[in-house]
Symmetry: D3
Subunit: 163 residues, 6 copies
Amino acid sequence: MIKKIIYPGTFDPITLGHLDLIKRAIDIFDGLIVAVASNPHKNPLFSFSERISMLKEATKGIDNIEIDSFEGLLIDYVRSKRCNIVLRGIRAISDFEYEFQMVLSNRKLASDIETILMMPSENYSYLSSKIIKEMASLGADLGDFVPSIVEKKLKEKLLKNKR
Amino acid sequence: MIKKIIYPGTFDPITLGHLDLIKRAIDIFDGLIVAVASNPHKNPLFSFSERISMLKEATKGIDNIEIDSFEGLLIDYVRSKRCNIVLRGIRAISDFEYEFQMVLSNRKLASDIETILMMPSENYSYLSSKIIKEMASLGADLGDFVPSIVEKKLKEKLLKNKR
Amino acid sequence: MIKKIIYPGTFDPITLGHLDLIKRAIDIFDGLIVAVASNPHKNPLFSFSERISMLKEATKGIDNIEIDSFEGLLIDYVRSKRCNIVLRGIRAISDFEYEFQMVLSNRKLASDIETILMMPSENYSYLSSKIIKEMASLGADLGDFVPSIVEKKLKEKLLKNKR
Amino acid sequence: MIKKIIYPGTFDPITLGHLDLIKRAIDIFDGLIVAVASNPHKNPLFSFSERISMLKEATKGIDNIEIDSFEGLLIDYVRSKRCNIVLRGIRAISDFEYEFQMVLSNRKLASDIETILMMPSENYSYLSSKIIKEMASLGADLGDFVPSIVEKKLKEKLLKNKR
Amino acid sequence: MIKKIIYPGTFDPITLGHLDLIKRAIDIFDGLIVAVASNPHKNPLFSFSERISMLKEATKGIDNIEIDSFEGLLIDYVRSKRCNIVLRGIRAISDFEYEFQMVLSNRKLASDIETILMMPSENYSYLSSKIIKEMASLGADLGDFVPSIVEKKLKEKLLKNKR
Amino acid sequence: MIKKIIYPGTFDPITLGHLDLIKRAIDIFDGLIVAVASNPHKNPLFSFSERISMLKEATKGIDNIEIDSFEGLLIDYVRSKRCNIVLRGIRAISDFEYEFQMVLSNRKLASDIETILMMPSENYSYLSSKIIKEMASLGADLGDFVPSIVEKKLKEKLLKNKR
């Protein structure tokens, strides 16, 4: 049986920390589906299709990976893919508390779906999409934080917003 | 002397975790006033009167309880009820930090009013009104998380919002 | 019905933080029993009887208080006193985690006994019996941290240990 | 390829929380090796062989599980079993900090070995082997906390210690 | 060489906790620049110039202090002042996590700039500009929380908002 | 006026994290005194003189540094050196809580002495002397964690202990 794991998130935008986690998970599982949540109520900087296309570009050349997207409840999506394992990254205490709430809530809704947590490299432990967007809007050079495609798109997006 | 305790909150909406705490507190104190804060700046999903009426429905049959509401400072309300004890629930570290700030700030404003903290059952330790509203908007079945009156009202509310 | 609350601990030795909490609790409840746990496996600095006698001295003049002691399980002691409420102080995250474990474990053993948590004044939020004993052994002046009887006994005890 | 995961620990003694995690992991991976660390410097209550035999008894009837033991470095043991995935349970913030240190230290020593974290059911989130041993020594009824074999052995052990 | 340190923040508005930290830092360093960040995306209650003028008023009579302001990246501002040390206050775990992220992100952007953290007095450990604004909007007396100039301006501002 | 800062600790043994912090602090202050606390009650692995001599060896070639030692209260030592600033490293939440207690306790004992906190590089954020000693006793290769002199001394010490 092939064991695929689903890595859901907003990915607004993907960072080097996300990419690090993706590579670690692919070493363990037979396949990985990165599932971009539409999350319109979070008011993302990048559109749904921009986030998906940056992920595809940034993960080019990685085997056994699929970039997908979903709307609605995560557990419904996971079942629709005939998977039962969800991956979440954990870097800090505040992550831990939020993931704790989500893991237990999701278990109540779907006891057949399990969540595993993994840690990115300590080199990315401080990265957050939120801080990256703030820094980008102030003109920071983000080459150490995001894939090059994201760096380029962030500049374009913020230029357009300023006009 | 009858010792009443006041349990303030936004209750947007009441969860099974709130209800669990209410029952535990009533076993200890002579009476409990659940005090719904108007909190218009928090932009609640349910109106002030909806939140109050769901609380009344969900606590029907519980003795020694009063459902009330207030605007303005909590300490002014507590004094107006001739009480001096406030109850707050605590589930997680982030709760702890916020309650710590509120307890100490309120003590500076009113040294005669004391706050006590209680923990809900571990079965509800992961519940938050915020996550419940997110899940409801995505169509989740919330029977394990909220009283049945709330489940019904959440469905009506979200249907109306979608139209 | 008179509502008494039980405040258990090792009190090795009692600090101004404990005393602050005792005074706050007595304003809320009809009576308070401070219950010194023997805890021989914790290898306390002061003997069981020394800890009890310092507590009695430090709480002289406070009404509605009883200094008692117990061995064995807290819940058995609480029942033997016909009480059902336990008080615990909470100052910091590490306290919170430990109390969380104890509250939930004790509930499983005795669902009729409830624990409430209260915070000492911010002026004592940093006090711990462990740090106080360390500082005393290095010769610090502890007048801001412990009742005067404890300051005196700490000096005697440490002098004796040095000889 | 068969993917086995190694779940190391002191298991002094195994709790219902450990057992819950074992069952969750077996649903995800093809096989699980529970690896008891000798850890003589931790001064365990139960001997190495007692801990192993209680684990065997408590996991009887579970498929795809192996109870094993090791001395020395975890990473050396993991390699000797031709595995590359380690499982650790995570219940609380203090767990999180310790596991964070261990995951990153182990990665520096062996970059080919990855650790995943899973959460036990909220019903066991408060259990710790340390508190269980304390409670057992005070005579508590531990049927809700440990497998029945452990409850029996704890009573025998503590009786022997008292004599 | 004169060592100046830069203390950046939104200061919306300055509290007695900020003032406490300023005084502690001036005792250690040769000079301090309080740098108000414009932060328009944070939607501050007070305008950029109001925040600067309240800071000037509240720090009148303190030597070796300069009140300044900046837009854009903190590290660019720090370099433009020929400084290399940044001061940040830390009161609570949530502060710690955010500062941790900012310190490490800023180091990646500018390895020559270092951040030091200091703690305000325990008397101000619970103060936050956010809670102060909430309490002010409900009519609380804030004399124990903010400098008198801020108390006056908060009342004016909130009166104007109500009209 | 020359501003020296004192960096106290047990240093049992010095790690690359300590060394990283030392280098960061020397860039900011005019001089740094690393002060080894005797701490006999902590039962250190290395003797007082071994810890001092490893520190001297590991910091050879660094300017403006002095390796010193003290017994008794930190504040008495700081005053005896005519300093008023203490440096402490902070890596994790548990560090934060302990440092918080020490900073506030020391301030009560000596209001003229201030503590500043700095973070090591994220590359060393997970290092602790305790885990390093555990790993060394199990035979781990510690070249990424400690200076080479410490690696050598750890091997010698542990060989001697085994004989």
